[in-house]
Symmetry: C2
Subunit: 218 residues, 2 copies
DNA sequence: TGTACATCAGTGAACGCGCGTTCACTGATGTAC
DNA sequence: TGTACATCAGTGAACGCGCGTTCACTGATGTAC
C-alpha cells in the first residue's frame, strides 16, 4: 500500500508514516448517503487506511476524536466555499438577490459534487456522542455568525434594516441545512428545483425580517 | 415480569402474550438524548421487553421494521398534539399570532415533557436505513400539508394571501424541527427563550410570504 | 565516515464481549368429537 | 363434560462474526561520539 521508506518530512522529528490525514481520508472514503460517521468502526477505518487496528490509536484517542476532526474540517471547508461564492457575487453585482442566489447555488453545487464533508455537516447534527453534537453545533454557529455579518453589511448598503439579524441568520442556516439533508438522497435532476425552492424560502425570511423591522420603527 | 397466563383478548385468535406494543414500549424506554433508535440492538430491546431475543422476530421482521413503526407512531402523535393546540387557540381568539404562539408552545411543552416519540422525529431524520429515512420524510410531509392547509385557512380569514403557501409551510416545518433537535439537549430554563426565538423566526417566514405575495399582485 | 545506541511508530496475536440469526424444542391454547 | 389432538407463540442453546482494546514485540529512524 504505502511505500516502505518515504523521505523524511523535515529536518527535525521522526517521519510519520501514517498521518492523521491518511486516517481522515480513509474515513471519508467510507462515508456515503447510506453510511454515517457514527456507523463507522475503528477497525473498518484502519482497514481502509491500510494500517493495523492498533495503529489508529497513535493518531486519535478514539473514534469520537476522529469524528470531531471530520466535523471541524467539514465546517471550515463549507464556510470557505460559501465565502468565496459570496465574494464573487458581491464583486459582479451588488444586489441582495444575486448574492443570495449565488450562495445557494454554490451550496447546491457542492452538494451535487457529492462532497462527503458537506454530507457530514448536513446529516449528523443530532446523533452521536456529546462531543460530536457539540462540534457540529459549533460549526453551525460559526456559519450563522458569518451569515449575520453578511446580512448586516448588505442591508446597510441598501438602507433596509433587518429585524433581529441574528435570528434571521439562524433561521436561514438551520432551514438550509435541514433542506440540504433531504437533498443528499435526491436524484441529480431534482436538485435544481430544490435550489429554486431554497432561494424563495430564504427570501421569505429576509423579506419578513425587513418588514418586521419597518413595522417596529414606524 | 409478565403474568404467565393472562386472559384471552377476544373470542377468536390466540392470546398474544407478547404484543408489538410491548416491544415498542421497551424500545422507547431505552431511548434518551444520548441513545438514538439506530443505536439500539435487537437483543437490547428484547432484554428490556423481558422476552427472548428470538421472540422479537414474532413481532417484527427486523430492527428496521420496528424503527419505522416508531417513526409512524411519533408522527401521528405529534400531529395530534399540534392539531389540538391549533383548534384550541382558534376557538378562543382568531388571530394569526395567537395560533402561531400556541402551536409553538405546545411543541415546546411536549419537548420539555421529554416525549421520546418527539425526540425520534426531531433527531433521526437523516441517519439510518433507507426505509427509516423515508418514514421520517413521510411524516414530515404529512405535517407540512396540515400546516399548509392551516395557513391558507388563516390567511383567507384575514384577507392576506400568502406567496407559495406550500413553500412557507415547508420552510416553517423544517426550521422548527431543526431548532427542536438542538433543544433536546438544552436545560429546561433555556427552553422558554428558544420558544420566543422560534415564534419570531416563524413570523419572519409568514410576514415574508405575505409581502412577497403583495409585491407579486401589485 | 562508521558504529553503537535510544527512541518510538507501527505490528500481530490474542482477549472477552455483545451481536443477529438458526435450530429443534416445549407447553399452553383452542378445536373436534 | 371429558379427552385426544393440532397449532403455534415463546424458548434456550449454540453458531460464527466483527468489534474495541491490551500486550509485548520489532525494526527503521535519528543521535552521540
Amino acid at each position: 500500500m504505502t511505500s516502505p521508506t518515504p523521505p523524511t518530512i523535515g529536518a527535525l522529528g521522526r517521519k510519520a508514516v501514517i498521518s492523521r490525514e491518511d486516517v481522515i481520508a480513509a474515513a471519508l472514503s467510507l462515508l456515503s448517503s447510506q453510511r454515517s460517521v457514527s456507523s463507522l468502526s475503528l477497525r473498518e477505518v484502519a482497514r481502509q487506511a491500510g494500517i493495523a487496528p492498533n495503529s489508529f490509536y497513535r493518531q486519535f484517542r478514539d473514534m469520537d476524536e476522529l469524528a470531531v476532526a471530520l466535523i471541524d474540517l467539514a465546517g471550515s471547508s463549507l464556510r470557505q466555499i460559501i465565502g468565496e461564492a459570496r465574494d464573487q457575487a458581491r464583486k459582479s453585482a451588488d444586489t441582495k438577490r444575486s448574492v443570495l442566489r449565488s450562495s445557494v447555488q454554490a451550496f447546491m453545487q457542492q452538494l451535487k459534487s457529492g462532497d462527503k464533508l458537506l454530507h457530514i455537516l448536513l446529516r449528523e447534527g443530532s446523533v452521536g456522542s456529546e462531543a460530536f453534537k457539540q462540534a457540529v453545533d459549533r460549526q453551525l454557529n460559526y456559519f450563522e455568525d458569518e451569515l449575520r455579518l453578511d446580512l448586516m453589511r448588505l442591508s446597510e448598503a441598501h438602507n433596509s434594516d433587518l429585524y433581529e439579524p441574528a435570528l434571521a441568520a439562524k433561521a436561514i442556516t438551520r432551514m438550509v441545512f435541514a433542506m440540504g439533508a433531504t437533498a443528499v438522497d435526491l436524484p441529480e435532476e431534482k436538485l435544481a428545483g430544490l435550489a429554486e425552492q431554497l432561494v424563495v424560502m430564504v427570501r421569505m425570511i429576509l423579506v419578513g425580517s425587513q418588514h418586521l423591522q419597518a413595522e417596529q420603527s414606524e
